[in-house]
Amino acid sequence: MLGLLVGFSWPSYLSSELLYGRTDNVAKYVRTWDMTKVLPPDAGLEVQGIFHRYTITKESSADATVSIVNKNANGSGNIYERHDNWNQLPSNTKIGFDVVTPSLGKRWGDGSIDVTGEATLSDVIVAYNYRFDPCFIPLSDPTCPDYESALYQYLLDNDLINNEPDIDDPYYDEWVQYQLDIKAEQKEEEEAKKEKEAEEAEEELKMERALSVAGAAEQIANPMQQLAMMQQLVSTGTLDSYYGATIEGGTYEDAIELKDAEIKDNTRALRNLAQDKLHRTIVRSQYDK
């Protein structure tokens, strides 16, 4: 179990990337919209921008204000609001994109676009840019970086490590896979252990063989054993070519031949000898006095 815990605690180096997207035009048919039906349901989704485009038709002398608003779903007030002042301005088409500090989509309440004053809106487009982490809930996808540790934690929290969950459990398949993984891991460990034992046994055998050779050396040093070995060698004919050879009888003449007719004295050697004699005489004279 400890090994298993360690195995699950290893960090996974898979990385999850943020996915970005934009909603459809939420104001295509209506001027108010429910954000829970607009934003994808992905957990951890954050809104990071609002795009708008509309055409306002009015008299230049008239006053009008166009407002785009999202209520704060978790409290009072608005989480986003934009008010375009068209007072004393001619008709036109406006395009804009507001970058907002990314905030959870759940905080974004009902949205609306409205015009106050003497003006009408047409060709309205409002769309939300969002981003989300597909691994915000690691158990949502087996490829998520923290999937294994999250699954282990789930099984631990629900006391399912050693108990089979109900088949209706949302992670029943994962539990089965988890058990299979454990068995596979145990099998691998056992095989590795066996392999290691086999290697150790092989090493031991090699040592025994080496030791048996050393014993033979002692036996070779024994004279009786040597005699027995020689007899064995001769009996097998190994030394027969030496012991069984015969030499013919008769006279064997000297084969030395001197090619030079005269051999000169070695004068250098004679000189050395003379010097040696002189030296000896000198040394001897010291004792003769």
Binding site: V66, D84, N85, W86, L89, N92, T93, K94, I95
Partner: protein, 165 residues
């Protein structure tokens, strides 16, 4: 002794003093940029006429001007008064055209249209607000009085400029 030391110090300082050119660098990023969002296309509703009016099969050119610093620039659009390339024409071409604000990123830019200045085939806008403004440029060419235009490809250029005020 003190005097001598002082003299030496002065000499040393005199020899170490050198003329050095120390540059100061700076980069000026453009605060006004022009982008062609839609290329204009001439329709050919009549043998002697080329026009960008959608009703006549043409497409108006849409040019976006992005201004990062409010009230420092004006933009100038010159709609064509000649073809940059065309078959050989032996008669005069009568040119008309216009430039208008079509879309804005700030509601106040809608006032640019009323304040524009037009002369010859040029239209000027005073860019008093920061943001993007879309301009639509129309062009129409009429050959001779009602003479048929020779077959071939015709190209004319719109000149859009951003000028510091």
């Amino acid at each position: 002794m003190i005097k001598r030391l002082a003299t030496i110090a002065l000499l040393m300082s005199a020899t170490s003093a050198m003329a050095v050119d120390s540059p100061i660098n700076g980069v000026v990023e453009p605060k006004c940029s022009i982008w062609t969002e839609t290329n204009g296309v001439y329709g050919h509703p009549l043998p002697y006429k080329l026009t960008t009016k959608p009703a006549d099969g043409g497409v108006k050119a849409i040019i976006r001007v992005d201004v990062a610093q409010a009230d420092y620039y004006k933009t100038k659009f010159t709609h064509p008064n000649s073809f940059s390339s065309s078959p050989t024409l032996n008669d005069a071409v009568a040119w008309t055209g216009s430039t208008a604000v079509s879309q804005v990123s700030v509601s106040g830019m809608s006032a640019y249209e009323a304040a524009k200045v037009t002369y010859n085939n040029t239209t000027e806008f005073n860019m008093t607000l920061a943001g993007s403004t879309w301009f639509t440029v129309e062009s129409e060419a009429q050959y001779g009085s009602t003479k048929a235009l020779p077959a071939g490809n015709y190209t004319a250029m719109i000149v859009a400029e951003c000028i510091a005020k």
